[in-house]
């Protein structure tokens, strides 16, 4: 069953989050809050799809790192998808691509999550 609104989509035991086009402190914290809500509901498989995200600033990066840590700490898994080239460059500079899987599209990320089950604790 698929339920959802414009900034997230629940797919059975998974949730796909769609952040804003500019991830700064405010948008980052909104994303963080959404993750907390879904973790609270017992969902532990997350995909963050950045297809609509043009710019991620360094504060946004720090919040994303916190989100990854939080989800993993709760025994969950998280994948990224849909990154624009510049945002992928940014993730490479900070070393995030070494610790998280990045997929070209949301569909591929969700398929990978289905395929790997609970075995996606790192890259």
């Amino acid at each position: 069953m698929t339920t959802g609104q414009r900034n997230y989509r629940e797919l059975d035991d998974k949730v796909v989050l769609y952040p804003h086009n500019y991830i700064n402190d405010i948008e980052g914290e909104k994303l963080e809050d959404m993750c907390e809500v879904f973790l609270g509901k017992g969902l532990k498989k997350f995909v963050i799809d950045f297809s609509d995200t043009e710019i991620i600033n360094s504060i946004g990066i720090s919040i994303l790192i916190g989100i990854i840590e939080r989800i993993r700490c709760a025994g969950g898994t998280i994948l990224f998808s849909g990154l624009k080239k510049v945002n992928l460059d940014i993730f490479r500079i900070v070393g995030l691509t070494n610790v998280i899987q990045v997929h070209p599209t949301e569909v591929e990320a969700v398929d990978e999550m289905k395929r790997a089950g609970g075995g996606l604790l790192g890259k």
């Binding site: 600033n57 916190g66 624009k84 080239k85 510049v86 940014i90 500079i93 900070v94 070393g95 610790v99």
Partner: protein, 738 residues
């Protein structure tokens, strides 16, 4: 009514700065689950500690529900029993007021009987009825220890048995040492310290000095937050705003002097403006300021407040205090004993009393003045009038005279420092560019420059010199101890775009900042010192350059020319700067081809949320026009967003604007991002490092991102702020390929 302060605070229109401290303490107060250290708020008299605590209390009262804020201001001279009852009353009233969202409960004066009824009616389920009952029992049994322990233990008991623990805010903590107790009775300070370090609740304690109690606390798990004077910009903003409120005309330059003289102390600043208002006098020049200041000190609110705060037990106190505040550096107990023939105990008592008032510090017998400049002037005024028999008018005249001299000298220092800094900044932008040789040859320049115009230099590239890529500038003083003469600094770098030993170069730069031109004596002095200095750079090329703010005498210019020393005056320097900075399109790099005219765009960003996106949008438009591809534009936008955030973050004031200049050249886009603050630039920023296979660090990525996304990133410290320079080359056009 919501948001109204429970305790008196000054009107918002008269309160300036401190928002960072208030936000910080508020955030820390609500972090009850994180076991963060408690806070010791220190600061000199009238710096606004009480105001900060009360404003945090208001914010905690109305803005959150995770802790119960309890504010308590100590009063010296209370008995232990009176303190215990007062503390319990305040704790109980404020606890109930917060729980019932009824601020009136905190303000009401109550007897113990009435308090008992109130807690029974309003807080039956809490520990409060038991605390109040035990207090009555202990009081009736005349058990001072039980009274005291029950009182100071109340916050812990309330916290342990509630989902919302107490956040205790103790004001004027040093007065706790003056709570009186019978010789065999309990010691309030010790009991309180024991309760505070128990760890059952969080607290912030403010005091003027690190008294025995606070010293004991500081040894524990506590963070010290020092409240110093308002920053110069904040103090000037405050003076401007108050002047506006009181319809006073002011000169911003004089207000800067006032802010410095008053050390950013909010009370002194307010008093000055009130004094001007009372006298109906604008603050337009330094004389206005000096008159108002001295009047305030002698017979105004500031003098009155200082008179109350500096408690003198006779003229001997005044003698010692005067000696301490006028001593160069510090004095000593021995010196004071010899000078004034006081006994050891007498002097010890005096110094202890001064230390309690935060006027001196006594470290192993070394006595150092700890008050501020205004207090020093007040002590001098008292000393001169009471002990030297001078009239107040006479001392006032001296204060005005000293202030005028001080201001004149301070302005002179600024001008002197500014010129040398300008030269140093210009050198850091040499960046391997070509420049006309005439900018470094004063006699030649003088023959070609007329009526503001420089006649065309014939001979094309033969008239140019290649400037080095400067990697660092430093003062030569370390290398020439004891030398007199004009300051020399050394710019170390590489030439010809090659970073190898054969192209290493050192520029020895002598700057004369004076109202007279460089004369032959200056030149001989520099030539001699340069000969010694070049010994430090034996294997590399050394260039000597003299810069004269007021030019050169003919004889000096001839000698420099003969010796092959570069010579530049202010006009040449300005034109060189113009060639290097204002129009990079005219720069000639690698081969010296003249590029087309650069286009410049300027934007000023307000300090508001997401204003960096305006900059990003502008970069997109300009970059597209220049022919950058989408990815490069994305990189420029992301780097520029980081630079703007950095500039805002390190601005001196929250309202600071950030100035952007886009320079669109044939081969590159250069973006200057400048704030009006004292940002740390690259040096002060925490830099993160990506570690393979491990989770990256959370913060400090701004600089790394800028560097990773742009071709060049530079941080330049300016007189009035910091500039970040971002450069992106068009693909295939780097290194002067046109």
């Amino acid at each position: 009514m919501k948001n109204k302060a429970i305790f008196n605070i000054c009107p918002d229109g008269e309160f300036f700065g401190r928002s960072m401290e208030i936000d910080y303490v508020f955030a820390r107060g609500t972090e009850v689950q994180k076991h963060t250290p408690n806070i010791y708020l220190s600061g000199n008299r009238w710096m606004g500690k009480t105001e900060v605590l009360r404003r945090v209390h208001r914010k905690l009262f109305w803005g959150q529900a995770s802790v119960v804020p309890v504010y308590y201001q100590f009063r010296g001279g209370q008995s232990v029993s009176a303190f215990a009852e007062d503390f319990i009353k305040e704790t109980a009233k404020q606890y109930m007021a917060f729980m019932l969202r009824n601020p009136e409960l905190a303000r009401v004066e109550v007897s113990l009987d009435k308090l008992e009824r109130l807690v029974e009616e309003n807080a039956e389920e809490t520990e409060l009825p038991g605390i109040v009952r035990r207090h009555r029992e202990a009081r009736e049994a005349r058990d001072l220890t039980a009274e005291l322990r029950n009182a100071v233990g109340a916050p812990a008991l309330l916290s342990l048995n509630s989902s919302a623990p107490v956040f205790l805010m103790l004001d004027d903590l040093d007065a706790a040492d003056r709570i009186t107790s019978p010789s065999d009775g309990p010691e309030a300070g010790g009991e309180l310290a024991g309760a505070l370090v128990s760890g059952n609740f969080s607290f912030i304690a403010a005091s003027l000095t690190a008294s025995s109690l606070t010293t004991g606390l500081v040894k524990g798990h506590i963070e010290t937050l020092e409240l110093t004077g308002l920053k110069e910009e904040e103090a000037v903003s405050m003076l401007l705003e108050l002047s506006r409120q009181y319809h006073l005309e002011t000169s911003s330059e004089v207000l800067v002097q006032a802010a410095r003289k008053l050390g950013g102390n909010p009370m002194y600043l307010k008093n000055l403006i009130w004094a001007a208002h009372r006298a109906g006098r604008d603050i337009m020049d330094i004389r206005d300021l000096a008159d108002l200041y001295s009047g305030e000190l002698v017979a105004g609110n500031t003098g009155f407040a200082l008179g109350g705060a500096i408690r003198l037990n006779g003229l001997n106190d005044l003698r010692v205090l005067h000696a301490a505040c006028t001593a160069y550096g510090s004095t000593s107990e021995e010196e004071l004993k010899d000078r004034f023939r006081y006994g050891h105990e007498e002097l010890k008592d005096m110094l202890s009393s001064f230390a309690t008032m935060a006027l001196v510090t006594n470290t192993l017998g070394s006595i150092k003045w700890a008050g501020d400049g205004v207090m020093r002037d007040y002590i001098i005024y008292m000393y001169e009038t009471r002990l030297k028999g001078k009239s107040p008018e006479e001392v006032k005249t001296r204060l005005v005279r000293d202030m005028l001299k001080e201001s004149f000298s301070s302005r002179g220092e600024e001008v002197r420092g500014r010129f040398k800094e300008e030269v140093s900044q210009l050198v850091s932008t040499f960046d391997g560019n070509m420049a006309q040789k005439v900018f470094f040859d004063h006699p030649s320049f003088a023959s070609k420059y007329k009526d503001g115009l420089l006649r065309a230099v014939e001979g094309g590239e033969a008239g140019d010199i290649r400037l080095p890529h400067v990697v660092g500038c430093f003062d030569a003083r370390r290398l020439e101890v004891g030398e007199a003469g004009q300051p020399v600094f050394i710019a170390h770098g590489f030439q010809n775009d090659r970073y190898d030993a054969g192209n290493e170069v050192a520029w020895l730069i002598c700057v004369k900042e004076a109202i007279t031109p460089v004369n032959i004596g200056d030149v001989e002095n520099f030539l001699r010192r340069a000969a010694f200095l070049r010994e430090n750079f034996r294997s590399i090329r050394v260039i000597r350059w003299m810069v004269g703010m007021e030019g050169f005498t003919e004889e000096a210019a001839r000698r420099l020319s003969k010796e092959g020393v570069y010579s530049t005056d202010t006009v040449q320097l300005g034109m060189l700067r113009g060639a290097l900075n204002a129009a990079p399109g005219t720069k000639r790099k690698g081969g010296g081809a003249v590029l087309g005219q650069a286009k410049e765009f300027e934007i000023v960003l307000p300090g508001s949320s997401k204003s960096e996106l305006v900059a990003a949008r502008a970069a997109e438009e300009i970059g597209t026009e220049m022919g950058f591809d989408d990815n490069a534009i994305g990189q420029i936008r992301a780097a520029l967003v980081e630079a703007c955030i950095n500039a805002f973050e390190h601005s001196r004031t929250k309202s600071s604007k950030v100035h952007l200049k886009f320079i669109a050249d044939n081969d590159r886009l250069t973006i200057n991002v400048q704030n009006g603050g004292s940002g740390p630039g690259a040096r002060g920023l925490k830099r993160a490092i990506a570690r393979a296979g491990r989770m990256p660090q959370k913060r400090g990525w701004g600089v790394e991102l800028m560097k990773g996304l742009m071709d060049e990133v530079r941080f330049e410290e300016l007189v009035e702020g910091t500039r970040i320079v971002l450069v992106k080359y068009l693909a295939g056009k780097r290194s002067g390929e046109v």
